[in-house]
């Protein structure tokens, strides 16, 4: 009998297993102890591992991330939970000016093995600033890695890999998918490699790149398009946003000659632009049409009554696919 887990359960299990496996692992964050985290990602872990390893911190993100940097330099592997992505900003300086640079500045003498987990993205009727998707801020910072799973299986495997990675990782968890569906997840520890995209569905006519909650939107659109228009879509889950898996991107567009990128971040300077540029650099002559971006708009994420209109929909992705296919 195969066991199925939601993404949040898979994430909890990854932390649970690594806490058991490696005494250096420590969790830190607001309300992650007795409360088990606002999304219950750390449910019960304080009871299992005690308050020295699952630490309820004061409400101060620079303090959390900054002290985690110190912990990491002195033998610990801190796994930080930031309650929502927008609340990482008070710790932005610590991430950009310190976590990402410690190895570099000390020529490898000190490094910062640390994972910063945070829910991100819109679609759960959250209040203001609970729906941001600003992965660009981190994908522009050499020294960081940025990961965003789209399934329970990948979430567990990527989080375990992240906790074993010697460098600081921003681990973006699509809030909308936390409990959206269950998937078979092996009980044992396993790793999904950081830096590798996944071809979710092979196809020959057009490549669709997405991550996080947008992956399902892309898959939906792809299915509908195949049914309605007979186009064969190759759907690729990038999974790691920095560094991007260029080889997989290029191999796909060389085959299809057409591509659509779907992300919920704002369009301008979103990662769609980087993916287009990688294609421009490496495969322009293979392209039969401009790469299409279907993204969040260049406006602040609106209040939740119209947030769904901000988000890319299967309908918009389909339009993008058709525009590209008929170029």
């Amino acid at each position: 009998m195969k066991r199925k887990l939601t993404m949040i359960q898979a994430i909890t299990e990854a932390m649970d297993q690594k806490l058991a496996d490696d005494s250096r692992i420590m969790l830190l964050g607001e309300d992650i102890g007795v409360n088990g985290g606002v999304f219950r990602a750390t449910e019960d872990l304080i009871h299992k591992y005690g308050p020295d390893r699952v630490v309820d911190t004061p409400l101060a993100e620079a303090g959390i991330i900054g002290s985690a940097i110190g912990l990491a330099m002195n033998g610990k592997i801190p796994v930080v939970e930031i309650q929502f992505l927008a609340f990482i900003y008070p710790g932005f300086e610590q991430i950009v000016s310190h976590a990402a640079r410690m190895r570099y500045r000390t020529r490898g003498q000190y490094h910062v093995p640390m994972v910063i987990r945070t829910p991100y993205g819109a679609g759960i009727r959250g209040p203001e600033l609970h729906s941001e998707s600003v992965e660009t801020f981190f994908a522009h910072v050499p020294g960081l890695k940025v990961v965003a799973p789209s399934t329970p299986y990948d979430a567990k495997g990527l989080l375990i890999a992240a906790m074993e990675d010697p460098d600081p990782i921003i681990f973006l968890e699509p809030t909308k998918l936390y409990r959206a569906f269950k998937q078979e997840v092996p009980e044992e520890m396993y790793r999904v490699p950081i830096g590798k995209a996944k071809v979710v569905q092979e196809g020959s006519d057009i490549s669709i790149f997405a991550w996080g909650a947008m992956l399902r939107v892309a898959e939906d659109a792809a299915k509908q398009i195949e049914r309605e228009n007979g186009l064969s879509c190759e759907v690729i889950d990038l999974r790691t946003l920095y560094p991007l898996d260029r080889d997989t991107i290029i191999a796909s567009v060389k085959k299809t000659g057409r591509a659509v990128v779907v992300h919920e971040a704002h369009k301008t300077a979103g990662l769609g632009a980087e993916i287009i540029s990688i294609i421009n650099d490496e495969a322009l002559i293979y392209m039969k049409a401009p790469v299409k971006r279907i993204t969040g708009f260049d406006v602040p994420v609106p209040q939740f009554s119209i947030e769904d209109d901000y988000l890319p929909t299967a309908e918009r992705v389909k339009d993008g696919i058709m525009e590209t296919a008929t170029f």
């Binding site: 606002v38 004061p58 409400l59 303090g63 927008a86 609340f87 009727r125 609970h130 301008t268 708009f297």
Partner: protein, 377 residues
């Protein structure tokens, strides 16, 4: 009592030896039993006292209604404030219309009392794009979501008031948890340096979501931090609306006299959940704690007893009041629910004074011309 040892022979001098942080050390005017235990300073008249009570009843009903609306799916996640009425109502009633009010997500009682329409507050929690608009001629800022960040804004607006010779204060509401953020520190320090007419009004409700203040800091109080900036600070019974109001008046007077900011720590309690998405039973002995505060320190109860003893209140008035506020709340709800819904296009408005080409273009991507458009009518 607060004492520091200062000797020449031990190097450590700023260690605190004792500090009375019991409830009884709080500044209090109206006791939980409804007795006057402090001086009204000739400032609080009966009309104001009755208005205080009416306002507290109004916002308590509003709060309960909101929780129900959330349960019925007519509103999004909601942050209730029951238990904190004296702090919010008392402080807001001390303000004058030109003052600047910076609420958090939990301070709609203050906003309503200062003049925000309840319909607007409902709209906010319904996720409406127009839920954060201030009534004209008032300066009620949008509820602040990122913790403590509004505290520095309230330094800025107050500073501008001072520079423009306008006799207005700015009040920043914030919680005990907020006192851990760097912005708390920067705000108090700036206000001290520029002597801005800012009132930092902390509702210490004992918890930041699940974290009790004892885990938030090794310090016993928040008010003591005022000493770090050489600005006045005060720790008061936040369930005593007289104490809140009088303290506010004093702080406002000082601010308007050019004597700068004040830090007020109003000790109170939220009876319910952090938000409707929260389950307080997970992290505290919800029933007994909540019952203790309700029974022993409720802000409405003590004022009602006092007013009754003064012959200013009775059962009939209570019944009338309840009917009246419920009517008002229902009317506000009708207004909110019949308010034109946010339209998708609204998100493209007010990003800049003049829309950028991106917004214009993307709006047309969103609002697709009808597929029929090519077909003549």
């Amino acid at each position: 009592m607060i004492r520091f040892t200062l000797t020449k022979d031990t190097t450590v001098f700023f260690i605190e030896k004792e500090r009375d942080v019991s409830m009884s050390s709080l500044y209090q005017v109206l006791s939980p039993a409804g007795e006057l235990v402090g001086d009204l300073k000739g400032q609080l008249d009966e009309v104001t006292m009755i208005k205080m009570y009416e306002n507290m009843v109004l916002v308590r009903q509003f709060d309960r209604k909101s929780i129900n609306l959330q349960r019925q799916g007519r509103m999004g996640t909601y942050a209730p404030f029951e238990g904190q009425e004296a702090s919010q109502v008392g402080s807001a009633m001390a303000l004058t219309p030109g003052d600047w009010l910076f609420p958090t997500y939990r301070d709609h009682a203050a906003a309503i009392v200062h003049g925000q329409s309840m319909a607007r507050v409902f709209l906010y929690w319904m996720g409406h794009m127009e839920g954060s608009i201030s009534p004209k001629h008032l300066n009620i800022m949008p509820p602040c979501v990122p913790i403590a960040t509004q505290m520095v804004h309230a330094v800025g607006t107050a500073w501008a008031s001072k520079l423009q010779n306008e006799k207005h204060v700015s009040i920043a509401y914030f919680g005990d948890g907020a006192s851990s953020e760097g912005d708390f520190h920067e705000a108090l320090n700036f206000a001290g340096v520029f002597q801005t007419p800012t009132i930092f009004f902390c509702q210490n409700n004992g918890f930041a979501i699940s974290i009790p203040f004892s885990q938030q800091s090794a310090s016993k109080t928040i008010a003591q931090r005022s000493a770090a900036y050489d600005i006045p600070g005060v720790r008061i019974d936040g369930n005593d609306i007289f104490a809140v109001w009088l303290t506010m008046k004093e702080a406002m007077q000082r601010a308007l006299d050019g004597k700068g900011p004040t830090l007020i720590e109003a000790v109170t309690f939220r009876y319910g959940a952090h938000t409707t998405a929260d389950d307080p039973k997970k992290y505290r002995d919800q029933e007994s704690l909540s019952e203790e505060w309700r029974k022993e320190r409720d802000p409405l109860q003590r004022l009602r007893v006092f007013l009754e003893n003064q012959g200013l209140w009775n059962e009939t008035k209570e019944a009338e009041l309840n009917a009246r506020v419920n009517e008002q709340i229902d009317a506000a709800l009708v207004d909110a629910e019949s308010y034109p819904k946010s339209k998708p296009e609204d998100m493209f408005k007010h990003v800049y004074a003049e829309p950028s080409w991106m917004a214009t273009e993307q709006e047309s991507e969103l609002v697709k011309p009808s597929k029929q458009e090519g077909i003549p009518a």
